[in-house]
Amino acid sequence: MIIYNKLWLNNLRVVEQLQTDHEDGYVTKEQFIAIKQQYPVGFYLPKLVGRVGFFILTLIAIALSTGLVSLMASGGGVIDSPYWWLFLSIAFYLCTEGMTRANKFFHSAIDNALLYYSAGLFTSAIVWICNDPKYNALGEIPQFIMLLIAAVLLTLRFADVVMAIGSCVSFFSLIYFAWAKTGGLGLATMPFMMMIVAGLAYYLITKIRRDDKHAYYHTCIDVSRCTVLLVFYLAGNYFVVNKLNNLLHNLDDSHTQVQLGFFFWAWTMLMPVALITFGIRDKNRLLLRLGIIIIAAAAATFRNYYHLLPIEIMLTLAGAILLLVAYVIIKYLKAPKHGITYAELSKASDWDKLNIESLIIGQTTSQVLNTGANPQTPFGGGSGGGGGSSGSF
């Protein structure tokens, strides 16, 4: 099913693992080079900088080609039909297939660009067909069934993470619309339905993850697990449930009460804590990071309903608490405890080499610096208008 050379995929796994070990200082350079020679990888794998360039250039080339071909075909009025875009999507898909095989691409940006472009055209064509009365307006359920099938097939073929996320999104949309079809009861029980489905999906894909047979898809599976957990949380988030409830009963946003409100509040607040706890206990980074992100969602939800304190005091307090918590944990972990440490274990990645941090500092602090600049400076420029310090002080 997968398009890539399996031997190379296996070798790539070995080389990537040993590369990390080499960068962390466990394996000498000579050994690593010997291993690379013994486990050859024939894929074309450009570095980050090259990938970004190739991606943009490929998008430009295929967008222009779409324009050219459509211009040529525009005479007969075919481009007014979704089937034209469906046809283009298939043509680009065949192009992806051919180029990936011929050039030994493996997520090398050119194939990604082609694949996403083709998938994007496919999605718009299907959405058009399923919603336009001219083509019988099949509705959401067939639409998401088709999108789900396509996304899953593409994920299996190219082991691509964006396609994996697309599969998850189509899957949950399908569940949503199918369950909503059952009427009022369906909509009323929607949060629980989504929770159950997401929980089951998480259980299943985690089980699949354990099988070494599916090693080629580990990244896709991890990304899907992230998406599924996010849906699992959002299904019971008070804000989401409240909005859905208002939508169902045609109420406006002033209604902030829902049935079983206590349960949803507990879900909103306790899920992040649970995720972080399980993440630490099982040393699972995915759960841990998701938990940290979800704390922000929980805080925003709370803030949306209860304005206990003015925002600036909330920010100050939250910042102080975060600093204190981080400081206490760092102090506590000075010597590693329970196999957990604050020390940095792996070396710089591509991102560090690009000086991303200094670019961000250059961007975010420029407002502060701008206070003295004035439109009347002899050089005449000075955009950004000097209001910097009043914004923050």
Partner: protein, 345 residues
């Protein structure tokens, strides 16, 4: 809902160990490396470095944002002197700490003495610059001498960047140099090319980028803080190309545009040769991409006259598609060549 089955990493361990066993058996891993890896796998350490740093960073942002708003809303009761005094205390405290733990200045890269040092330095620098800005904004200490109001922070920033060896502050200093010259050079403003619309501004940008490129050249030649070269070169190259291209398009109908585009090609050629020597694919790619934009502009200039016929559109589209594909192939080829000499790749 069940929370069982979260134990994934325990499951991966035997797989990894299998791999090491296999490599060891094949004679590709030395006994020493194998033993080290085995020990690590038996008691793996889980690093919270990234997570805790994120929390720290968030905490700083929230705290400063909150405090800033708090002061802003209550400025009538607090008074400007109190705010200034507070900012002064912060930067004096930070710099006291930094000077105490600072390594002496050397021409090479200096590692920071401890984890928090860079952040303390950054906080101190930002509050110092804010302090100067605040003085000017509220009390106009430099009156209408705006040059001096931006010159002083710039000098301070360059001094701090070099003396304490901080890349982030170097970026701030470069941005401030631009502000002093009257242009804004944050990465975002570079993307919004629309601002480069007057000849005066374009030429200011050109002077600015020349200064940066000379600085990059001298950094390497004189061997002072060699790792700063990337920042200078990065800002300098992008600003130079964007300014040259803007000059080209600004005078598009004019003969003057040819001068800009010629300089752009000459600069691209120079960059290409130099970066190829240094095996930097990034700068090679930048040189090629900007000159590609210039070539496309030239083609349009030559082909499009008054009326745009259908055949012209066809020709242009085909030319662009063909050249874009050619460009991809060229870049792939260069990327391969640059990699070929590098053993680890």
């Amino acid at each position: 809902m069940t929370f069982v089955n979260f134990n994934l990493h325990h499951n991966l361990k035997p797989l990894k160990q299998d791999l090491y066993n296999q490599l060891h058996a094949e004679g590709l891993l030395s006994d020493e490396s194998f033993q080290k890896l085995k020990t690590r796998n038996e008691s793996p350490l889980f690093s919270l470095h990234w997570e805790l740093n994120t929390v720290l960073y968030l905490g700083v942002i929230l705290l400063t944002g909150g405090l800033g708003t708090l002061v802003y809303k209550n400025i009538d009761t607090i008074g400007h002197q109190a705010v200034l005094a507070f900012i002064a205390i912060i930067f004096i405290g930070c710099f006291y700490y930094c000077f105490k733990y600072k390594q002496p200045f050397i021409k090479d890269k200096v590692a920071s003495p401890n984890m928090g040092f860079d952040y303390v330095l950054l906080l101190g620098t930002i509050s110092l610059v804010t302090f100067i800005g605040y003085l000017q904004y509220q009390y106009s200490v430099f009156s209408t001498n705006y040059g001096l109001a931006t010159f002083l922070p710039m000098v301070l920033l360059f001094y701090i960047a070099y003396d304490f060896d901080h890349l982030g502050i170097l970026s701030m200093a470069i941005v401030n140099l631009g502000i002093w010259m009257g242009v804004s050079v944050t990465p975002k403003s570079l993307l919004l090319i629309g601002q480069f619309n007057t000849p005066k501004l374009i030429n200011t940008y050109l002077v600015f980028s020349t200064i940066l490129l000379v600085a990059a050249y001298l950094t390497k030649q004189l061997n002072i803080k060699k790792h700063f070269k990337f920042s200078y070169q990065n800002y300098g190259t992008h600003i130079a190309f964007v300014a040259l291209l803007c000059g080209f398009f600004h005078y598009f109908e004019d003969g003057l545009s040819l001068i800009y585009v010629t300089v752009a090609f000459a600069f691209a050629g120079y960059m290409y040769r130099e970066s190829f020597k240094e095996r930097s694919f990034y700068f090679v790619m930048i040189a090629i991409l900007y000159s590609y934009i210039a070539i496309c502009g030239l083609v349009v200039k030559l082909v499009v006259h008054n009326e745009i016929g259908e055949s012209t559109v066809y020709f242009l589209l085909m030319a662009f598609i063909g050249s874009a594909i050619g460009l991809i192939l060229l870049l792939i080829n260069i990327n391969r060549k640059l990699k070929a000499n590098d053993h680890i790749q």
